[in-house]
C-alpha cells in the first residue's frame, strides 16, 4: 500500500524532476532505443523548468508514439500520422503552451508526410521529435520510408526496393526552421538538441536514430563507436574570426545544410539548419488579431457582431 504522502501532489513551485514527470511504465521491449529518448526528454524538461501545466506531450500511433503515456504532463495519443495538425491546434490555441510531439518514421514521413511539410512551411511553434528506427515497429516489421534498400521486412521479404527518403534533406527542404539529428545512444547530445529545439521560436525538428531491437537490430551500428562505427558531430561556426572557422558549418546556410545531408551513411549529427528570422504562424496570426482589433477599435464581441447584423438589415 502506498502511503498517503506518496500520492500527494508536489508542493506548488517545487522544481520539476524526473520523478514528478514519470507516468506509466513504458511498454517498450527491453533494450528499445526509445527508453533513452524518454530519459533524455525528462532531463530536458528538468533543465527547462516550464510550469508543469503548460507542457504538452503529444503523439500519433506507433511504438514511439506511446510516449505521452510515460510522461506526466498534459498529453494525448492521437491517430496515425496526424499528430502535427492536432499539435498545430494546441500551439495556436494555447500560445503559452510548450508543445512537444513524438512519433516514428512511418508516422512522420509516410502517412503524416504531407502534414510535416505544411507544419514546417507554416512555422508553427512546437518541437517535433522523430524516433527513426527505419522500420514499422508496432505493426511488426514492415518496410518504412527510411528502410534502406535491401532491408528484409515482412512486406519486402527479398529486401526493400524503394528508394528511402533522406530525413535531413526532406526536413530542410520542407521549410522547417530548426533541423537537427541525434542518436539514442548519445543521451547528452539528445538533451542538447532537444533543449535547443525547445528554445527555438518556431517549428523545430529533431530526428533521433532509435534502434528497434526487436525488428531491426543493429540498424545504426555504423554510428556507434563501441560497435565499430563512427560518431561525427557537426562542427558549428563560432564566428570567432579564426581561419579554421571558415571551414565550420554555418547553420543559417541552407545550402550548406543540404550538402551535409548528402554525406554518406551514417553522416553527421547535430544542428543542420536553423533560421531565426522567419516569423512563426503564431506571431503572424496574433498580428492579424491586433490589426482586426485596431479596425474595430477594440469593440466588444457583442458590439462587433451587432454591427455586422445591422449592416444586413
Amino acid at each position: 500500500m502506498t502511503s498517503a504522502l506518496a500520492t500527494l501532489p508536489p508542493p506548488a513551485g517545487a522544481p520539476l524532476t524526473k520523478k514528478i514527470l514519470t507516468a506509466d511504465h513504458p511498454t517498450w521491449c527491453p533494450g528499445c532505443g526509445d527508453f533513452a529518448v524518454l530519459h533524455a526528454f525528462y532531463r530536458t524538461l528538468e533543465k527547462l523548468q516550464y510550469p508543469h501545466e503548460k507542457i504538452v506531450t503529444f503523439a500519433g500511433i506507433g511504438c514511439s508514439s506511446r510516449f505521452p503515456y510515460f510522461v506526466n504532463t498534459h498529453g494525448g495519443h492521437y491517430i496515425h500520422g496526424r499528430a502535427l495538425p492536432f499539435a498545430t491546434g494546441i500551439s495556436l490555441g494555447g500560445d503559452d503552451l510548450h508543445v512537444f510531439v513524438f512519433g516514428g518514421d512511418g508516422d512522420g514521413f509516410s502517412i503524416g508526410g504531407n502534414h510535416l511539410v505544411h507544419t514546417a512551411r507554416k512555422n508553427v511553434r512546437l518541437t517535433y521529435v522523430i524516433m527513426d528506427n527505419s522500420v514499422y515497429g508496432l505493426t511488426k516489421k514492415q518496410t518504412s520510408p527510411t528502410s534502406p534498400i535491401g532491408f528484409k521486412t515482412k512486406t519486402d521479404p527479398t529486401g526493400a526496393i524503394d528508394q528511402p527518403i533522406n530525413p535531413m534533406r526532406t526536413l530542410i527542404n520542407s521549410g522547417a526552421t530548426f533541423v537537427a539529428r541525434s542518436h539514442a545512444t548519445q543521451v547528452n547530445h539528445m538533451v542538447e538538441m532537444m533543449l535547443r529545439a525547445a528554445k527555438h521560436d518556431g517549428f523545430s525538428v529533431v530526428e533521433i536514430l532509435s534502434e528497434c531491437v526487436e525488428f531491426y537490430e543493429g540498424a545504426f551500428d555504423a554510428s556507434i563507436p563501441r560497435k565499430g562505427g563512427t560518431w561525427t558531430l557537426i562542427d558549428e561556426k563560432k564566428n570567432d574570426g579564426t581561419p579554421e572557422d571558415t571551414l565550420r558549418h554555418d547553420t543559417a546556410d541552407d545550402i550548406a545544410a543540404f550538402k551535409l545531408a548528402q554525406q554518406a551513411w551514417p553522416g553527421s549529427f547535430g544542428v543542420f539548419y536553423e533560421n531565426k528570422n522567419r516569423k512563426t504562424k503564431n506571431a503572424l496570426e496574433a498580428e492579424l488579431v491586433v490589426k482586426a482589433k485596431e479596425r474595430t477599435k477594440n469593440a466588444s464581441d457583442l458590439a462587433v457582431l451587432q454591427a455586422t447584423f445591422s449592416k444586413m438589415r
Binding site: 491517430i79 496526424r82 495538425p85 502534414h115 457583442l302 444586413m312
Partner: protein, 625 residues
C-alpha cells in the same frame, strides 16, 4: 451622386398606369450568363425585401463551370411567410436565346415572359404566356452610353422589376449607391442611369403589368425586431460566433468554402483564428487540437471532405473531445453534382467512421435556423463533450432569406476556456459522469496530468484491454447521447391530431413540407407535418404520434436505395419497426417542389386526386383575378 432622372415614387407613377393588381407573392426567375450579374439582382431584391415588410426567399444555382455558364436566379417575394422557393415561375426574364430555351419550361402557363428583344426570338404565337419584348441591351447601352457596352443590364432589369412590382425605387436606389459606393463616381452614376432607364421603360409600354403586394398583416409581422437578410452559410458562420466559437480549421470545397472564408475574416475581430489546412484530415485534427486547449472549435466540409474526417471523428468519440463539424451536403457520391442539393450524407454523418461512434447530428430547417442551430450545436458539444455535426445543404448554403434579427445580447456565449484548477478527485473519463476535460494549461490537483486517448481506457485515461472496461466505456459514450435525446423537446408537428398521413421532413425540406401539408389538407385529407431538426439522437416519443396516422411519409432528397427507402426513412423504420413508414425521395439535384411531395403522398395513399392535383397546383399566381 444625384441621378439626373431619379425615378418617381410609386405613388406618382401609379396614376399613369392602370391601378396595380394586388398579389400575395410572386416567383421571378432570371436567366442569363454568370457575368451578367444576375445574382446581384437577386441580392438587391432580397435586401430590399429584408428592409421592407416582405418576407423573402431566394433560390439560386451556380453552374459548375463558373464563368460564362448559364446562370439563373430565382426569387420568390411575398407578403407574410414565404416557405419555399416556389415550384414554377410566374415571371421569367431571359437575356439570351439559350436562357429562353433552357428555362421556358419553368414558366407556368399564364405567366409573363420578359425577354431581351436584342438577343431572344421566342416561339411565335406561343399564347401560353404573356410575352413582353424589352430591348434590355440597347436600353442599357443607350442609358449608360460611353464605352461600358451592355454592362449594367442587370441593374436595368432591376429597375424594370421595381416598377412592375411597385417596389420602393428610392430604397433600391439607396442600396445601389451603398453597393457601388466604394467604387468611383462613374460606376454609381452608370448604375443609377441603367436603373432609371429600366424603371421608366414600362411606363409607356406596359400599362397592364403593374402589381402590388398585399399589405402585411401587422399582427403577424409585428415582432418588433428588424429583419436581416443573408444566406444560410453566413447565418451559420455568425451563429458560431454568437455561440462563442473563436477557432476553426478547414479546407476549401463547394459549398462549404464560404463559411470558412467568412470565419477566416471574422474570427480575428473576436480574438480568434481560422486555419486553412493542407487537407480535411489536418483540418479536423487542428480543430480538435484547439478543443484540447479548452477552445471549442469548428471544422467543416462537404461530402468528400466529411469522408476524410471520419477517422478523426472516431477518435473524437473515443477521446470524448467536443467539436462542431459542419457538412454542407451536395450531390454525391464523389465529386458528383457539386453545385446541386442532396441529403445523401445522412448515414455517413450518423454512422461514418469505424467502431461504435455515437455522436450528434443536427439539421437546420431554413436560413434563420442555420444561425440558431449553430448555437445549439456548440452548446451540445460542450455540455456532452461530443462531436456534433451540422448537416446543412447546398440549397440553404446559397439561398438568401430575410428573418427577424436575433437578439444578440441574449445569445452571445462567453468563449473563454475553463482553465481553472482541477480538484484532487479529477478523472478524465469518469464512468458515472460526463467527461469534462482538463484543458492543457489547467493545473490538476492530483499532480497527475491526463492523456487524452483513442485507445480504450480506464477512468484515468490509461490504456486498457479489459473487456469489462470496454463494455462500460462503450455504454458510457452511448448513454450520454441517449440522455441528450431524452432531453430534446418534442419536434414541431402541425396539422391534424390523427388521420391519413403524417408527412415527416428533416433539414431544408421543412418549407416545401409545410406548404405541401396545406395543399394536402385542402384536398380534404386528414394530415399533419412533423419536422425534425435533431436527426440523431431522435427526440423521444415519436412513436406515439406515428401511431395516430395511417401512413408516415418521409420526404427526403436522396435515393430510395436497394430496399426502397431513403436514408432517414430507413433509420425510422429500423428504430420504430413500423412498416407504415415510407419514403418520397428524389435525386435530381434540386430542392423539392411542393407538387412533388403532394403527388408522392398521393401515391402512398392511393389518392388519384392528390397525385394529380400535386402536379397541377400552383402556389402563387400573377393571373388576373
Amino acid at each position: 451622386m444625384v441621378s439626373p432622372n431619379t425615378p418617381e415614387t410609386p405613388g406618382g407613377t401609379a396614376s399613369l398606369a392602370a391601378a396595380p393588381q394586388s398579389i400575395h407573392d410572386v416567383v421571378i426567375r432570371l436567366a442569363g450568363n454568370s457575368q451578367d450579374g444576375i445574382q446581384s439582382i437577386g441580392g438587391f431584391l432580397a435586401r430590399l425585401a429584408g428592409r421592407s415588410d416582405q418576407d423573402i426567399m431566394t433560390y439560386m444555382t451556380i453552374p459548375s463551370t463558373i464563368s460564362g455558364g448559364p446562370s439563373i436566379f430565382q426569387v420568390r417575394m411575398g407578403t407574410g411567410e414565404v416557405l419555399s422557393a416556389g415550384d414554377r415561375a410566374d415571371m421569367l426574364v431571359v437575356f439570351y436565346q439559350h436562357s429562353y430555351e433552357a428555362h421556358i419550361g419553368s414558366l407556368r402557363p399564364g405567366g409573363v415572359l420578359i425577354y431581351d428583344a436584342d438577343h431572344v426570338k421566342p416561339t411565335e404565337g406561343d399564347n401560353r404566356f404573356t410575352q413582353v419584348a424589352v430591348p434590355i441591351t440597347t436600353g442599357t447601352v443607350e442609358a449608360v452610353g460611353g464605352t461600358s457596352k451592355d454592362k449594367g443590364k442587370n441593374i436595368y432589369v432591376l429597375g424594370l422589376i421595381a416598377r412592375i412590382f411597385d417596389l420602393d425605387g428610392q430604397k433600391l436606389g439607396a442600396l445601389i449607391k451603398e453597393r457601388f459606393g466604394g467604387k468611383n463616381e462613374d460606376v454609381v452614376r452608370n448604375a443609377m442611369l441603367a436603373f432609371d432607364a429600366g424603371y421608366a421603360w414600362p411606363q409607356n409600354n406596359l400599362r397592364d403589368l403593374f402589381f402590388r403586394f398585399e399589405a402585411v398583416d401587422r399582427a403577424i409581422a409585428a415582432t418588433g425586431r428588424p429583419q436581416v437578410t443573408m444566406d444560410g452559410n453566413m447565418a451559420l458562420a455568425y451563429g458560431l460566433i454568437a455561440a462563442g466559437v473563436r477557432h476553426g480549421a478547414g479546407y476549401p470545397i463547394t459549398p462549404w468554402s464560404s463559411i470558412m472564408e467568412t470565419l477566416r475574416a471574422e474570427f480575428p475581430k473576436y480574438g480568434g483564428l481560422f486555419v486553412q489546412c493542407e487537407d480535411e484530415i489536418a483540418a479536423v485534427s487542428t480543430a480538435l487540437g484547439f478543443a484540447f486547449t479548452g477552445r471549442l472549435a469548428v471544422t467543416g466540409s462537404a461530402g468528400p471532405g466529411l469522408s476524410l474526417k471520419m477517422e478523426a471523428l472516431g477518435w473524437a468519440v473515443m477521446a470524448e473531445m467536443p467539436i462542431v463539424v459542419v457538412n454542407v451536403q451536395r450531390g454525391g457520391p464523389s465529386t458528383g453534382m457539386p453545385t446541386n442539393v442532396e441529403q445523401s450524407d445522412l448515414l455517413q454523418a450518423i454512422y461514418g467512421s469505424h467502431g461504435d461512434t455515437p455522436r450528434v447530428v443536427l439539421a437546420p430547417r431554413n436560413v434563420e435556423d442555420c444561425f440558431y442551430i449553430a448555437i445549439e450545436a456548440a452548446r451540445i458539444a460542450r455540455e456532452y463533450s461530443t462531436p456534433v455535426l451540422i448537416l446543412t445543404d447546398m440549397g440553404l448554403a446559397s439561398r438568401i432569406e430575410a428573418f427577424d434579427e436575433p437578439d444578440l445580447s441574449k445569445l452571445m456565449v462567453d468563449p473563454s476556456p475553463d482553465l481553472s484548477d482541477r480538484g484532487v478527485d479529477f478523472k478524465p473519463y469518469p464512468l458515472d459522469r460526463i467527461t469534462r476535460h482538463a484543458p492543457a494549461g489547467s493545473k490538476v490537483g492530483t499532480g497527475k496530468y491526463p492523456t487524452v486517448t483513442g485507445l480504450e481506457h480506464d477512468e484515468l485515461g490509461h490504456p486498457t484491454g479489459s473487456p469489462k472496461l470496454h463494455v462500460q466505456m462503450t455504454a458510457k459514450r452511448r448513454n450520454k447521447i441517449k440522455a441528450l435525446g431524452a432531453s430534446l423537446p418534442a419536434p414541431e408537428c402541425v396539422g391534424d391530431e390523427e388521420g391519413d398521413v403524417l408527412l415527416v421532413t428533416w433539414g431544408s425540406n421543412w418549407g416545401p413540407g409545410r406548404e405541401a401539408l396545406t395543399q394536402v389538407r385542402a384536398a380534404q385529407v386528414k394530415a399533419a407535418h412533423m419536422h425534425l431538426r435533431h436527426v440523431h439522437p431522435l427526440p423521444n416519443g415519436l412513436e406515439e404520434t406515428f401511431k395516430r396516422f395511417r401512413k408516415i411519409v418521409v420526404a427526403e432528397l436522396n435515393d430510395e436505395g436497394l430496399y426502397g427507402f431513403g436514408q432517414f426513412t430507413m433509420l425510422l423504420r429500423a428504430r420504430y419497426a413500423n412498416p407504415d413508414i415510407v419514403s418520397v425521395t428524389k435525386t435530381d439535384g434540386l430542392t423539392f417542389k411542393i407538387s412533388e411531395i403532394v403527388a408522392g403522398i398521393g401515391r402512398h395513399l392511393g389518392s388519384d386526386v392528390l397525385a394529380a392535383s400535386g402536379a397541377a397546383n400552383q402556389n402563387s399566381a400573377l393571373a388576373k383575378k
